[in-house]
């Protein structure tokens, strides 16, 4: 490591840091460290003048390393990296010391806080010495996109991409397209027919020259990395392989199994059915009880399997509107029929939904509110009530114990991740949250990408959502992919792990550890190597490599060790 010329910039962040930490003292301490050429305490280092100072110093004093002691690197690391770039040195020659979020904002004693700030700054200085120039790399991008799932999201994604003239391979597990939407009659809140919506899309997809539809097929394995995936698909004609630049996962959801809530006696009581069974009746246009009679009173029980500690804690999002929709459909089919909505809260957010709720209410649907923990009870009714059922509920809004007769009970079953979600997640290397939904790379700012480059998610496989949400997400995913396809090559992050081939002994310790199967083992040479484009730089293999052959770029043993020595210099000077 040659002699470095380091510049240290201690930000006061107005008074945010300065009011507790003695920034000048920190700067003075920095000045005393070997390699530090200049150390400044400045009011707002992230401000334009602040950045200009850094650029100026780099150019005039010939700095080749920069340490900024300021806010969290999660806040301004990109800002200062750009500054380094502007000044003409590698952006990775920067190290930040977090003396705001993790110092001045949480400590009140100026002495201790300043001491800590100095330690953090010193650690940064010691570390930055070992920083290496990193370059972003570029790899070729395959033009084909693989879409998993032929539901509304999959169809949309496929069409969007194909319309842009890019080839698509659509893989559908079942023998027909349409997914769950194909099981729905009308849609809330505008009561359009789901079938009409689908028919049109499915036609376009089937006919589209750029789309290859594989029915009764499943993804068996996915190798490679963004831009260069290789998909092994099992079709009914036999195995089928295709390269792919990106993958959109639209595997959707499955309905909650109502029989799990024994309390409601689904499967035991003949006239207790699920929302999907009701949809079927409505689609066939024959709404009848098991006895073949048109129902006089229909009770819709909300949140079956949703928003409950023992099943799913989350809200399934579409059931409330669907229940209101049933109110309309049932009333229009059987005007003399009474409809009860037994609900916890009415979630009527979204366009047109509040009005829809109101309209349903005006149609004299009786809304009965129950307490989360205190489910309605379904009991056989006396002959007085035509031998139907009686539903007892502690009605929350009135505080009264109510009973209502019903000859048909509909359980509004929630959505849950498909059984094979875990398998899919493993195949394409994405994560699932605690409920099993696929995790997006950022819940707010990046809801369609995943932590695996080139793998996108859309529709209800990411979280319960309705048709508009799924379509929007699918279009967003397609847009992201088309943006990538707009370039011949794609950028791969500069921070990743790499194996020193001269040290690797082929023990294969790392192979199994990599969550992204980014490490491949060359059996002939008996060496492992990291596919950098796949690597997400978690560093698990680096810590595990017994021969110290794997290096975690920008988080090398040397850099972290220097940091440790830096923060503990005080302690070690005592002992």
């Amino acid at each position: 490591m040659g002699e470095c010329r380091i510049g240290v910039y201690v930000c006061n962040c107005g008074t945010n840091i300065a009011k507790v930490v003695d920034c000048d003292a920190v700067a003075r301490a920095a000045q005393a460290l070997s390699g530090v050429v200049v150390a400044r305490s400045y009011k707002y280092t992230c401000s334009t003048p602040g950045q200009e100072t850094i650029v100026k110093d780099i150019q005039e004093l010939g700095l080749d390393r920069v340490v900024v002691a300021a806010c969290s690197p999660r806040m301004h690391e990109p800002t200062f990296r750009r500054a380094l770039q502007t000044a003409g040195i590698n952006p990775y020659f920067l190290e930040m010391a977090n003396i705001r979020e993790q110092c001045s904002w949480v400590h009140s004693d100026p002495r201790a806080a300043t001491e800590k700030a100095v330690d953090l700054m010193r650690a940064a200085v010691r570390r930055v010495v070992w920083h290496e120039p990193l370059e972003k790399r570029y790899v070729d991008m395959c033009r084909t996109t693989l879409v998993l799932g032929g539901g509304i999201a999959g169809l949309t994604a496929a069409l969007e991409i194909a319309e842009a003239g890019k080839p698509v391979v659509l893989v559908e597990k079942r023998d027909r397209l349409g997914g769950n939407v194909a099981r729905v009659d009308l849609t809330a809140p505008y009561l359009d027919s789901a079938r009409d919506m689908l028919r049109d899309r499915m036609e376009q997809v089937r006919k589209h020259p750029m789309i290859q539809v594989l029915l009764e097929s499943e993804l068996e394995a996915l190798e490679g990395y963004v831009g260069n995936f290789k998909a092994h698909i099992r079709t009914k004609e036999g195995p089928f392989d295709t390269p792919a630049g990106a993958v959109v996962v639209c595997t959707g959801y499955q309905e909650f199994d109502a029989s799990r809530v024994e309390h409601y006696g689904y499967g035991r009581l003949p006239n207790v059915i699920t929302s999907f069974e009701l949809e079927q009746m409505l689609r066939q246009g024959r709404l009848l009880t098991r006895e073949g009679k048109p129902p006089r009173c229909v009770a819709l029980i909300h949140c079956v399997g949703s928003r409950s500690p023992e099943y799913h804690s989350y809200c399934s999002r579409v059931c409330c509107m669907t229940a209101l929709k049933y109110g309309h459909e049932i009333k229009s089919a059987l005007p003399r029929c009474y409809v009860y909505d037994l609900y916890i809260d009415m979630h009527a957010f979204g366009k047109g939904c509040e009005d829809f709720y109101r309209r349903t209410a005006e149609m004299k649907t009786m809304f009965l509110m129950y307490e989360k923990g205190d489910l309605p009870r379904i009991e056989p009714a006396g002959d007085g009530d035509g031998g139907g059922m009686l539903i007892r509920i502690h009605e929350k809004l009135s505080g009264e114990d109510i009973e209502v007769p019903a000859d048909l009970v509909v359980l509004m079953v929630g959505m849950e991740p498909r059984e094979d979600a875990a398998r899919v997640a493993r195949l394409v290397n994405i994560s699932q949250d605690k409920d099993g939904w696929f995790i997006e790379s950022h819940p707010k700012l990046d809801p369609v990408a995943t932590t695996t480059d080139g793998i996108f998610i859309a529709g209800a496989c990411q979280a319960p959502k309705g048709i508009p949400g799924s379509v929007a997400q699918a279009s967003a995913a397609s847009a992201r992919i088309l943006a990538k396809l707009a370039h011949e090559k794609i950028e791969v992050d500069a921070v990743f792990a790499e194996v020193d081939d001269n040290l690797c002994s082929g023990c294969r310790m790392c192979n199994e550890l990599c969550p992204y199967t980014a490490i491949e083992y060359d059996a002939t040479r008996k060496r492992s190597q990291v596919i950098s484009a796949l690597c997400k730089a978690c560093g698990c293999c680096v810590a595990a490599c017994p021969s110290g052959a794997i290096k975690g770029r920008h988080f090398t043993d040397r850099q972290i060790t220097a940091q440790i020595e830096g923060v503990l210099e005080w302690a070690s000077s005592q002992g």
Partner: protein
């Protein structure tokens, strides 16, 4: 024991004018803005809820509608235009029909045709009866005194007979009101002493409309008070001083003074109310049930014919006066005979009673509350 919900009730209530109940989603704004809504009489939201779920029995015993004076604040505030004020109004109509054991009230409220028909019928019978009677005892030319077409002494007797009949009917319905709201509820055990102690509430509220006064809008109260007092004055004059009212030509100035005042009051307020309802000037005038129109028209008619026949008589046109008098009676009898016990007018009895009963209910509940606390404390000790 769970209460059976009755989805049909809400449809029935539409006939009484409650058309928007189902829009309510229980934000509770109405109860929040209502100056009267307070524990344990939380309205209108609670009543709206009972109604939506069709808890008929709960509603029957519910005094809340009578505690509401329809200032309209709630309806103005309602985000869903569920018209809580109008719902309370409709509930008052419905309750009246529930209190009435004859079932006539129910008929009237559910069909204005039947009500009008009944009124016209009674009017016709009255007309016929009085004509036969009048022509048998005297001549159209004579206004009062011996040989008069309508000798005040006879009318006086008739009035009292009618009065007793109405009082009887009304009393029975009031008793039913008591039964629904207090009597049948085992939880409400009220000592006689309490009944006596609170008795003053009846005349107090009857004469002052004090609760109405507490509404934020004062004008409706003032108008209502004038109407009520005028009506009362007229009633007193007729029931006790009819001879003085009718006798002439030289006349007692007090009768004159009160008579004119009351008439002015009646006509004025009626006119105002009619105007209001036609123009929908106030929230509480927005929705008018047929019964409201019939009531006002009848009132206006009676007051009108009353003053006209008085004037004719003053002018010495006895024949004309007598014929108008007949017309007047054809209005009075159906008004008193049908409207007071079976329709809108009955509230003159139910409102003060509601004040009285609610006070008793509250007292009883507090007592129970204290008792239970006491037992709790004892158990703890």
């Amino acid at each position: 024991m769970a209460i059976r919900a009755n989805p049909r009730l809400i449809e029935e209530l539409e006939l009484y004018g409650a058309e928007d109940v189902s829009k309510c989603y229980h934000c509770g704004n109405c109860s929040a803005v209502c100056p009267f809504s307070r524990d344990p009489f939380l309205f209108p939201r609670k009543s709206m809820r009972y109604l939506q779920m069709g808890l008929e029995e709960k509603l029957k015993g519910n005094l809340d509608p009578w505690l509401c004076y329809y200032c309209g604040e709630c309806s103005d505030e309602c985000p869903r235009d569920a018209e809580p004020g109008e719902t309370m109004m409709s509930l008052r109509r419905w309750l009246t029909s529930q209190y009435d054991f004859t079932g006539i009230s129910r008929l009237f409220y559910r069909s204005w045709k039947i009500e009008s028909a009944a009124i016209l019928l009674v009017a016709a019978l009255t007309g016929l009866g009085f004509w036969l009677f009048g022509s048998s005892v005297g001549s159209l030319g004579v206004y009062d005194g011996p040989g008069a077409f309508f000798p005040s002494s006879a009318i006086h007797k008739f009035d009292w007979a009618l009065g007793f009949l109405l009082a009887g009917l009304l009393l029975v319905n009031c008793a039913r009101m008591w039964w629904f709201s207090i009597g049948r509820d085992p939880k409400l055990r009220i000592p006689v002493s309490a009944y006596v102690r609170r008795l003053f509430l009846l005349p107090f509220h009857f004469f002052t409309q004090d609760r109405y006064r507490q509404c934020e809008k004062k004008r409706p109260w003032a108008i209502h008070l004038v109407l009520m007092l005028s009506y009362l004055t007229m009633l007193v004059l007729i029931m006790f001083f009819l001879h003085l009212v009718q006798s002439g030509p030289e006349i007692d100035w007090r009768v004159h003074a009160f008579g004119y005042l009351a008439t002015a009051g009646l006509l004025g307020t009626t006119a105002f109310a009619l105007y209001g309802r036609i123009r929908k000037t106030e929230t509480h005038y927005k929705h008018s049930h047929e019964s409201d129109w019939i009531f006002l028209i009848l009132l206006g008619y009676v007051a009108g014919t009353g003053i006209v026949q008085h004037v004719l008589h003053r002018a010495g046109l006895n024949t004309a006066a007598n014929i108008t008098y007949l017309a007047h009676m054809m209005g009075v009898v159906p008004m008193l005979g049908l409207e007071v016990p079976f329709s809108k007018w009955a509230h003159l009895a139910y409102r003060p009673l509601a004040m009285y009963f609610s006070a008793l209910q509250e007292e009883a509940m507090e007592a129970r509350g204290r008792a239970s606390e006491e037992t709790a404390r004892l158990r703890a000790a």
